[in-house]
């Protein structure tokens, strides 16, 4: 039986850049333990010889030719989801080097 600890939730929150309250951390730890428990049902099945399902199409070697296509989408349209712009740059909070 594996339990998700509050520390693990904190680590994950940090990686996902989420700010969580203490209460959220506690409840998430509990909920995530339940989810993990459920998926651990798979441990009871013999999966020997079963292919991973990261690929299901059975396709292989799909390429495109190295050929540039000039986009007809305007820069402003491309950047419309950016909250702040400066000229055609996306402006973000200062990132430390």
């Amino acid at each position: 039986m594996r339990k998700i600890t509050k520390e693990q939730v904190e680590d994950l929150a940090k990686l996902a850049r989420l700010g969580l309250t203490d209460a959220e951390k506690t409840s998430l730890a509990r909920e995530m333990t339940v989810i993990l428990e459920y998926s651990m049902l798979l441990d009871e099945v013999d999966t020997k010889g079963v292919q991973p399902t990261s690929q299901t199409t059975e396709l292989k070697n799909i390429f495109r030719k190295d050929c540039k296509v000039i986009s007809d989408i305007d820069i402003n349209e491309k950047l419309q989801n950016a909250p702040v712009k400066e000229k055609s740059f996306i402006k973000v909070k200062k990132v430390l080097e």
Binding site: L15, N61, F63, D66, K68, S88
Partner: protein, 493 residues
């Protein structure tokens, strides 16, 4: 006192100069582009888009793999490396380090006459991130995603280098290979070749590696040696004081001449890799999509082979051969100029003589001018045909060596050919004995003093008279003709 041995391994990133990006058809050349101009929904990481690998980028990884004697993996697949950073629109980088396309390989380097094999662990393919600009004033950063999605090779070496110098030589050799293969501009200053160094120390004779420190931010050839030297010294000092080296990532600060501990994005080092579900696996040997015969046919003569051939075929010195082959374009310029000269195919002796002349000219005149102007041979206004024509004229006495250099200077500035310059300035060498005779007669008349000195046995006066004739002809008289006629006329005086 314990003696320590330095152990260095490198991780090198090289941008591929394909026409389009790694997983989308955006223009991969953004030098003149506006920020974020060369982007599309795929490289901006919009939901619902599908990345499709660039075939050329994959072929080029194999090309490098073959050039470095690596093994082509029967299967490789892309995967996602997850982290949040403003230069990474999808919040994951598509990479292939877990199951890389090329495994193993080696680069032979030579340090002070000793040949050494630096083993390659693997080569993988990934996409570059965008560029961040940090204005000095202002509490913000600017993001330009033109570079996001550029095909990027990562070449990981084994910890086979034992001195900072070896790391620099390895990088120089690798740069040369990338350029000769014409797959990357491999310019460290412009950031299309980047290098991180893993450095550790261990007592001489010990097998296990010591604690390693990774150095980032090395972005010029000069810095490689300096940064590693500094870090070796820093670790040596710690060990000397019985302190421990902490495993960490440090950045090279060129202005301070130090490596400094980095905290920011490395802090939580958990990239949660998983296979990229959007891109089917690659099996280069199955099916006909990847043609290894064709890729093998692309393998060019590399710098070391070419240098050796120049020595054998043209009898050049090792030093000259190395200079001429230091740049692929320069080596081509040399051979094209040579081939353009008449009589070149007559026999090997003539070929070697002419090769020596062309080599001397390129090294002492062309390269000197290029270096002074700070440009490379591909930007040189004098093409190989025009240079060959000029050298041929000098060879046949149509112009003197001195005039040839002056004409070349003008060709270099203006891009005109030698014929145009000679005509416009009336610079042809005067070998016409009649014209030379007239000038000499005048000089003798005007310089009776030196003439009698010469007659009295003062050899020096002869040189003076030659100088006067050359001055009168504005340097265009053929010195040999002047010499003969002057002697002749003085005897008759």
């Amino acid at each position: 006192m314990i003696k320590y041995e330095t152990v260095i391994g490198l991780e090198i990133h090289a941008q591929l100069k394909t026409e389009s990006k790694m997983f989308c058809s955006c223009d991969n050349y953004s030098v003149d582009a506006k920020p974020n101009e060369n982007t599309c929904p795929i490289c901006l990481g919009m939901p619902g888009t599908l990345p499709v690998p660039n075939k050329k980028a994959i072929e080029w990884v194999y090309l490098l793999g073959l050039a470095l004697n690596g093994k082509i993996a029967e299967k490789f697949n892309f995967e996602r490396k997850n982290y949040f950073y403003p230069d990474l629109p999808k919040a994951y980088q598509i990479t292939s380090s877990t199951k890389p396309p090329v495994i193993g390989g080696r680069v032979e380097i030579e340090t002070e006459g000793v040949i050494q094999n630096i083993r390659i662990n693997h080569i993988h393919l990934e996409e570059d991130a965008g560029k961040l600009i940090h204005p000095k004033l202002g509490e913000y950063s600017l993001v330009d995603l033109n570079r996001a999605g550029t095909p990027l090779l990562e070449i990981v070496t084994e910890p086979d280098m034992r001195a900072p110098r070896e790391a620099r030589i390895f990088m120089q050799d690798l740069r040369s290979i990338l350029r000769y293969l014409s797959i990357s501009d491999a310019n460290m200053e412009q950031g299309n070749l980047r290098c991180d160094a893993n450095i550790s120390l261990r007592p001489v004779g010990q097998k296990e590696l010591g604690t390693k420190v990774e150095i980032k931010n090395i972005n010029s050839f000069k810095m490689i040696e300096r940064a590693i030297e500094y870090e070796v010294e820093r670790q040596m000092e710690l060990l000397g004081e019985n302190k421990k080296v902490v495993q960490e990532t440090r950045g090279w600060d060129e202005s301070k001449g130090k490596t400094l501990g980095q905290r920011s994005k490395e802090e939580a080092n958990d990239y949660r890799y998983f296979p990229e579900p959007d891109i089917p696996p690659l099996e280069p040997y199955s099916g006909k999509e990847i043609d290894f015969d064709e890729i093998k046919a692309w393998l060019p003569e590399l710098q070391k082979e070419k240098s050796q051939r120049f020595i054998n075929e043209y009898n050049l010195s090792t030093q000259d051969a190395e200079i001429l082959t230091s740049d692929l374009e320069l080596s081509r310029y040399f051979e094209q100029t040579l081939e353009e000269l008449p009589d070149i195919t007559k026999n090997d002796e003539i070929k070697k003589q002419k090769a020596k002349k062309v080599s001397n000219w390129i090294i002492s005149e062309v390269l000197a001018k290029l270096n002074l102007a700070g440009i490379s041979i591909s930007d040189c206004k004098v093409n190989h045909k025009d240079l060959a024509e000029l050298l041929d004229k000098a060879d046949h006495g149509e112009i003197s060596g001195k005039i040839a250099k002056e004409i070349f200077a003008e060709m270099f500035e203006t891009g005109k050919n030698s014929e145009q310059i000679i005509k416009a300035k009336g610079l042809s060498q005067i070998s016409d004995t009649g014209a030379v005779k007239v000038m000499i007669t005048e000089v003798i008349k005007e310089n009776q003093g030196p003439v009698s000195d010469f007659k009295a046995g003062k050899e020096k006066a002869f040189g003076y008279l030659i100088g006067q004739v050359m001055a009168k002809s504005r340097g265009q008289a053929n010195p040999q003709v002047v010499n003969e006629i002057l002697k002749d006329l003085l005897d008759k005086e």
